[in-house]
């Protein structure tokens, strides 16, 4: 793509030197833009990629029970059958369902005093995704879009906002609101590469190349008379698409050592965590992996045994690998849900929706390792210390990534706060 002057000249289209360098690093652009000789060193690009901030979210869809994970209450009326086990952080105990995670807790932290006041799946998810309550008046971009917009290089060939789901065909979500479709999530259904990222069968490479050359010529001709941010975005999307096709291997975990697949597990979640590691290493800014399903109104303990047991190994392996590869200092990891589950156990051995006192786990970039923020009472029915809402969490994630959460995006001349101004980061958690 040719460098150009944007006609609108808004702040969104000014590419800073820092961002430009990150761009080069993020997409291995020494190859894409050979004229930029000082960054031809692969080692330099690799180092820049390694130190770029990024975020990895594990979404425990349906509502992970805090009592069967991060805030166990064994031996109480609400505790259920599972015991608590010590972790690598002295004095910190988590559920016995997480023995491998317990060994890497010194890389992680817990927030145990969350009260999001919302027991509906969709609304709870919205709060955890946007840091705000859903209103009919305004839609807000999700965390992945905000992070991708704030950190991702502007001309990255790979999408900056990726969601790996257990099933589904893929596609692109309209979840970036006023940030525009560029930052909407690209879904890798069951960990498969993005849809339509392969040249169509029957279309020869030469023919495809000719078609693209023609498109470029027509675009250039049009741009001589009328050049706008929209036309540039249109042009860029094609060029990004082509670059994405070239880099399709980024999504192929068969390129990883076979032993790694064994370590992560050959089930869906294991494969998806390995893919997440690969994408993080490739410099993708925001990756979310969904693990399903925790909405255990019935037989909560059987299903948490099954699901958390599956989560534990791959997650601990992922944390360890990111640490060993020097990526954990630059990658914020968050394990979240839309809410927790009731302390009371119903007649089906189930736990229901519960937003009043629950927990998340996070670690890596910008977060004090081994910290525990907030507390609940003996039976987990109330927050007793440092209560926080989804807005606090949203500010905290951004701050941990070095994004000024009290800043704003300028959209069509209007200032839109990046995070809900009614909240602030959990400063004591941040390094």
């Amino acid at each position: 793509m040719k460098p150009c002057e944007y006609s609108c000249r808004t702040a969104e289209h000014v590419v800073s030197r820092r961002r430009f360098v990150e761009t080069l690093a993020g997409v291995g652009a020494a190859a894409v833009m050979p004229g930029f000789g000082m960054f031809n060193s692969a080692a330099m690009a690799a180092e820049l990629t390694r130190t770029q901030k990024r975020m990895l979210v594990i979404n425990m869809a349906g509502g992970l029970s805090q009592l069967e994970s991060w805030d166990p209450k064994p031996g109480t009326a609400t505790g259920g059958p599972f015991r608590a086990i010590p972790t690598s952080v002295p004095g910190l105990h988590i559920s016995e369902l997480l023995p491998k995670t317990a060994k890497v807790m010194h890389h992680l932290a817990l927030i145990r005093g969350i009260n999001t006041h919302e027991d509906d799946h969709g609304k709870g998810d919205y709060i955890m995704s946007t840091g705000r309550r859903k209103t009919p008046a305004q839609d807000y971009p999700v965390l992945g879009a905000v992070v991708a917009k704030s950190l991702d290089p502007g001309d990255s060939a790979l999408p900056g906002h990726i969601i790996i789901t257990p099933g589904g065909g893929g596609g692109r979500n309209a979840d970036s609101a006023y940030l525009g479709p560029k930052f909407g999530s690209v879904v890798l259904g069951n960990g498969k590469p993005p849809q339509f990222s392969e040249r169509q069968q029957g279309l020869a490479e030469e023919a495809s190349s000719c078609a693209n050359d023609l498109r470029r010529k027509v675009n250039d001709h049009f741009a001589l008379r009328r050049r706008t941010a929209q036309t540039e975005a249109y042009t860029q999307s094609y060029e990004q698409g082509l670059e994405l096709m070239k880099q399709r291997e980024a999504f192929d975990i068969t390129k990883e050592p076979a032993g790694d697949l064994e370590r992560y597990g050959t089930h869906d979640f294991g494969r998806h965590c390995l893919l997440a590691r690969r994408l993080i290493e490739k410099g993708i800014t925001y990756v979310r992996v969904t693990h399903s399903n925790y909405d255990t109104h019935c037989e909560n303990f059987n299903f948490h045994f099954e699901q958390v047991g599956e989560f534990d190994g791959p997650f601990a392996t992922l944390v360890t690998d990111l640490h060993d590869r020097g990526l954990l200092d630059h990658t914020l990891i968050v394990v979240l849900s839309e809410f927790g589950r009731t302390p009371s156990i119903n007649q089906l051995y189930g736990r229901d929706h519960w937003s009043k006192a629950w927990s998340i786990c996070l670690g890596g970039a910008g977060v004090h390792r081994g910290a525990v923020i907030g507390a609940t009472n003996a039976t987990g029915t109330e927050v007793t210390e440092r209560q926080v809402d989804g807005g606090h969490l949203f500010h905290t994630y951004l701050s941990a990534l070095g994004i000024k959460s009290t800043g704003h995006f300028t959209v069509a001349g209007q200032k839109m706060p990046i995070a809900d101004p009614a909240f602030e980061p959990i400063d004591e958690l941040l390094t």
Partner: protein
């Protein structure tokens, strides 16, 4: 006195301090035992209703058995542990022996007909056999691909049946540890792809008194496991051929599952059913539908049959053990 299920009525409410789970009568008929969510085993004297707690497990207790002489209670904990107790001890019974028997939940225990051996199984997918006298391990029966849910000895003591989450019932030879054959109760297992969960399993096992039939119970049609949408199902197998010959169903029970099965000495099958409701279903050998269903006041969990053939114990979430009498009210 012969039992008359159509006269079933709750004859006794025995309260506890927490929601109750599994239950078992003492074979001598004096006591009934139940496990509770407070990690305690409660014993009630049926005559006086006096309650005695057995405290010693570090988690919930999946199952209990009592030896034929009524002297030894063996409990199976979700804390990996089997505990031997003096079943008839007067006050504050203390563990007589503890064996770390499994890696994970022990869901089921079964006694051999002569009460000399006890089998245990659970989430580590290995069945283990122990000497009742000293707690020594006799042998292991590996091979299950999912959690062991239910164990039962054949009345002749020669075979041990182990039912798992997959709906497989393996027949093991007790003396050698050899796998003899597998009964296929696959309809009792559901894998729900959308929710990505395995559900169901062998929740109840019962032999007919003449050992002609083996019946496995649980649930089917688990279209929404996390939301409690399924129906009860018991599958009757002919012992000789291991073929499933009949399903036993209930009607109008979209949120129920069988938690326990007992074969009555008079030849009918009893299902303890819970979920949205609490039911006792009574089936004859030849019929798919029950000849009688009795509604309990609360969702049922565990099921046990007294040696008099007239009293049925069920455990409930409302912290009560109920004794239902299969006879006209006095």
């Amino acid at each position: 006195m012969p039992a008359d299920p159509k006269q079933a009525h709750v004859a006794q409410d025995l309260p506890a301090e927490a929601p109750l789970m599994a239950c078992r009568f003492d074979p001598t008929g004096k006591y009934v035992f139940a496990t509770a969510e407070d990690r305690i085993i409660y014993r009630w004297d049926l005559a006086s209703a006096q309650r005695t707690p057995f405290t010693g497990h570090d988690s919930w207790i999946g199952d209990v058995v009592v030896t034929a002489d009524g002297q030894t209670l063996i409990s199976a904990g979700y804390d990996d542990t089997l505990i031997w107790w003096p079943a008839a001890a007067a006050d504050a019974p203390q563990p007589a022996n503890k064996v770390r028997a499994h890696d994970g939940w022990i869901r089921s225990v079964a006694l051999s007909p002569d009460s000399k051996l006890v089998a245990s199984g659970g989430n580590d997918r290995v069945v283990r056999l122990w000497n009742v006298a000293d707690g020594a391990k006799v042998r292991e029966f590996p091979g299950a691909e999912r959690d062991i849910y239910n164990l039962l000895f054949h009345p002749n003591g020669q075979w041990l049946m182990a039912g798992d989450l997959d709906g497989k019932i393996r027949q093991w030879e007790v003396a050698t540890g050899n796998l003899v054959r597998t009964f296929d109760a696959a309809p009792l297992h559901t894998y729900e792809g959308g929710q990505q969960v395995h559900y169901g399993g062998i929740r109840g096992l019962a032999f007919s008194p003449d050992a002609k039939w083996l019946v496995a119970g649980g649930l089917h049609k688990g279209s929404n496991p996390l939301g409690n949408v399924q129906e009860p199902l018991a599958i009757r197998f002919e012992w000789e051929t291991a073929k499933a010959v009949r399903n036993h169903l209930t009607e109008g029970t979209p949120n129920e599952r069988i938690w326990g099965l007992q074969y009555h000495p008079e030849g009918f099958l009893i299902g303890g059913i819970g979920g949205g409701k609490g039911l006792l279903a009574f089936w004859n050998e030849a019929e798919e539908k029950p000849f009688h269903v009795f509604a309990l006041p609360n969702s049922a969990r565990g099921l046990a049959l007294h040696s008099d053939g007239l009293r049925v114990a069920t455990t409930h979430h409302d912290k009560k053990l109920r004794i239902t009498k299969l006879a006209a009210k006095a």
